[in-house]
Amino acid sequence: MQLTSPSNLSSIEDVHEWLNRCATIYQNTEHNERINIDLSNLKWISPVGNAALAATLHKLNSRYDIIISIPDSDSADKVIGYMERMNFFEICPKRIKTAFENNCDMEKYYKRHRNDQTNTLFELQRVEDYSEVGPLQKSIRDIMKGKLSPNRVSDIASIIGELANNSIEHGGTPCFPCVQYYPQKKKVEIAICDFGKGIVRTLKNLVPHNSSHEVVCKAILTNASGVEDEDRGRGLMEVKQRTFDWSRISEFYVRTHDSAYQVFPNKVETLDSGKYYFGTYYYIVIDIQ
């Protein structure tokens, strides 16, 4: 079986399309069967693309015998260079890294100087234990300190911390966060993805609902919680609040279960529905004008 990546992995729509393709493989392939993951046509990858690719490759690697076709287009150098800069090869399954090393000169990327601080970057991490969340927030604070106002830095650190906790507790898998600040555009992109069971499967037995979309809405707009009989479930509400409190034109997307959503200050809209695949994929663009 072949799993081909879209040419771009940069928007929530691209991630949604990639997950639909992963779902097709999941539906039609037996455990331990060989699959070729074809990234040869990958021309551009963003922070959320890196995080989503890392999460899905871990899931695929746990189930299948995977081989990789590495990026091979005119943009391959840029794509692989950015993936390396984002720490992707330290986070992805080892056999993926080996496949890249066997098929191109990765040393030239590993040996590059990383002096360019124009776009402040919190590289992709793997977080799988509660004890890692505090240091994760602190690392983000240290990197962003002096570039944004302290309160904005707190918002970003807190958003990542809350979402990481959700992944660990409800998803039951590691999660993969990263942050990039673009001073020219005055935007901060936050991505965090896991390969757990997703919001709908976590909550569907705990909140009344008529559709899976309603479950996702309640998860984000109310204090619905994956833990029964406890006064909690505020994490996603706080993420939304911190995203929009300072700027209504911030963007908040999530892909979970079988659909991609855009979250607004007071509502959640379905962007597109597709096929169920594991994980929850958050992509938040904070406007800091």
């Binding site: 004890s131 927030q137 602190k138 707190s154 911390g161 809350e162 906790n165 660990i168 909690r232 706080e238």
Partner: protein, 190 residues
Amino acid sequence: MVDAMRLISLLHQEEKFIDLVGRRPAVPLKDAIIELMEEAPKGTIFYYDLNEVREVNGSGIHEVIVKPLEWLYENFKSHEKFLILKNLSVEYDHLYNIQITCNKEKVSIIAQNEESYEVIGNKAGDALLELLDLTYLHKQVTARDLAKILDKKHTLIATHLTKLYEYRLISRQEEQLQEGGRQYIYSSLF
């Protein structure tokens, strides 16, 4: 009379600091705090020393600060106890982060600074905060004192002071008046 302030340490054994950043790890800490509050003598003023705390987020604050406060509100008649914060960190932006959660959960807590204090959270509105300021300025007041200072009705001031007391922002003692009757003397927590 209230006792001297009592530290509730948030640290586990051997730890030098703690991050209050998630729900699940904070639940046992919150349970231990409330147990400690239940067992302490009436009138105890507890405090957290936030020098012990580095990173915080909404889930951690809700569990370790908001829930004990809500327990104190619910049990103010049987457990006349209080909780304040000391040594908020600028580096970890404690004030802003705690404010967000306290506002959302409609609770208020006093943070003691070196020479002053700050009320975090919006449970008490402006009218109450005016009385709170005067109480902390004079350390001890009666409704009659403040009614005179502000030229307002004694009954209104008494109602507001009772609210501040129920919100655990000031303490009070009952006093027998020489001319007969009783009145409350309201005190700042420090």
